[in-house]
Symmetry: C2
Subunit: 320 residues, 2 copies
């Protein structure tokens, strides 16, 4: 039996076919063309899957189900994408539309949850049954995995871990609150912090590295400056990791998960982030006096494939 996972993004649609060992046997992608009507976009999703099946010689009968990871809010039961930010989808009957082309069971899930399920099933947390994957991107996406399933809460909306407040009177967040973790530790926040520093310290390397063009600053700039010994770059990175660590410590105090997986582009910094993060968590988490094992903090392993793998595993159901 095979499992199909689709990761619907604002820019690209990625899809993959997994075998029973959760290995991607074939994957591909096409542009989303996100201004088009949903029926055209979903048709392209289906055609991509059909093409992959053709190339691998796998028949539809050998496919157990199709899972779709979507940026936004899903009605899982009815297979409807209620709302998404990056594509103009509003109450889109994804399941019905897909089944026009592929008469299979179709599951929908939020994309951050899919990435977490992917890492949990086949990535950095594959050997444990409970983990939290934190995706550092435009925001902080999160997925909580308990008993090898996505924890969704009673109303299906759980896991908005980017929206916990670290500074009650702090930075404004897109959610309307002030001081959310996401406003300090997302890639967007890091870029903003780097730009502010570049403006404030024009002589610093963070400015030189982009030839004074602040629009060229990305989530790597401060790390690059730090690696070249720049004190401003170092202090941006340290402050960023301090906030990242604060939120990670909160999650450990609440969940004590076997593993916390750090994903998203910034996670490519690897030990540069992970080593200080572990040190912060060791100091800031609460273990009483007992000699108990501590949560491991690791980098994501599947990169962009995590969404495909997790989507393909949606047939496993959710944890409430």
């Amino acid at each position: 039996m095979y499992y199909v996972g689709i990761d619907l993004g604002g820019t690209n649609i990625a899809a993959g076919i997994l075998d029973e060992s959760l290995k991607i046997v074939k994957k591909g992608s096409v542009p989303t063309g996100n201004t088009r009507h949903y029926s055209d976009i979903i048709k392209d999703m289906a055609m991509l899957v059909i093409q992959l099946l053709k190339e691998t010689g796998i028949s539809k009968n050998e496919v157990d189900s199709i899972g779709i990871g979507c940026p936004g809010t899903c009605d899982r039961e009815n297979g409807v994408l209620l709302y998404t930010n990056n594509i103009k989808f509003d109450d889109v009957p994804m399941r019905l539309e897909m089944q026009k082309y592929l008469p299979l069971q179709v599951y929908l899930e939020n994309d951050a949850n899919c990435a977490a399920l992917g890492e949990s099933m086949a990535g950095a947390a594959r050997d444990v049954s409970d983990s939290i994957t934190i995706t550092l991107g435009t925001g902080i996406g999160g997925g909580i995995i308990l008993n090898n399933k996505i924890y969704i809460g009673f109303n299906g909306m759980a896991g908005e871990i980017g929206h916990i407040v670290l500074n009650k009177q702090g930075e404004s967040c897109t959610c309307g609150r002030k001081g959310c973790w996401e406003a300090y530790a997302s890639a967007t926040a890091l870029i903003k912090q780097t730009r502010n520093a570049a403006q404030k310290y024009p002589e610093s390397l963070v400015n030189t590295l982009v030839n004074g063009n602040l629009n060229k600053i990305d989530a790597k700039t401060a790390f690059d400056a730090m690696r070249q010994g720049d004190s401003i770059g170092t202090s941006i990175v340290n402050e960023y990791i301090a906030y990242l660590g604060e939120g990670v410590s909160d999650l450990i105090n609440i969940f004590q998960p076997s593993r916390i997986v750090i994903g998203g582009g910034i996670s490519k910094e690897g030990d540069t982030i992970l080593v200080p993060l572990r040190e912060i968590a060791r100091k800031s988490t609460y273990f009483g006096e007992g000699d108990v094992p501590h949560t491991q903090i690791v980098g994501a392993e599947l990169g962009n494939d995590a969404g495909i793998v997790g989507a393909a595993m949606l047939w496993r159901g959710q944890q409430v």
Copy 2:
């Protein structure tokens, strides 16, 4: 069949016998005498249970199990109380010691978790399977209930919800971090806030109500002053509830539980706390654009009995 629950506190030992409808058919308490040797304290716990059984005419054979809620860290598997703050217990073999007097299955659990299980099984969350009970006392105790079981994490230490940071550079917390929720929204914190205000505004009613004796200030003082129209009392209470609401909103964003139950002495303020708390949560929690049901925020119902009831239900096991 009957179930015995014991709540071991620093001051008193309370015990109760529950029937199958989870009603306490008989309860009683004796002083802990917390400076004594553990064998004497545990003997008194057993004698209290034996006395209650005698008074109700229930034989040991009719008792399924004994659960003990302890302030501190337990080794559930081996029935050992590893550490507790209020009593000088250190690696105490509670189960073995109890079984000297009552040869029954004996379960151990943290007392805040027991209170949460009690409210979940027979109190304010008895009609839902997932809830978080927040006990506002010396600290902020918490218990997370999923699938009608206490969620304990992979190492048994989960649920330290008082130790999530709301102000990264804020008030020092007993756990070593700065700005923990507990440092702002526990009863201890409220008393401290009231004392500070009484010192700063000696003409305010919070001062008059205790005849200028700051040691007489308790968690009710600011509420009493507010009810008499005092502006200082009102602002203490508003600020306190704002912090309480911030942490509650964080928990909703993470868990989306069916219900959040507010317990501890302060919860007796009822709607004075609950109404603004619901308003804060409504504004601060993240629901996307979907029309989904929201977490209900309610007061605890079982008061001090919650610990007994939860302890008696420990035979149900935990959720990891």
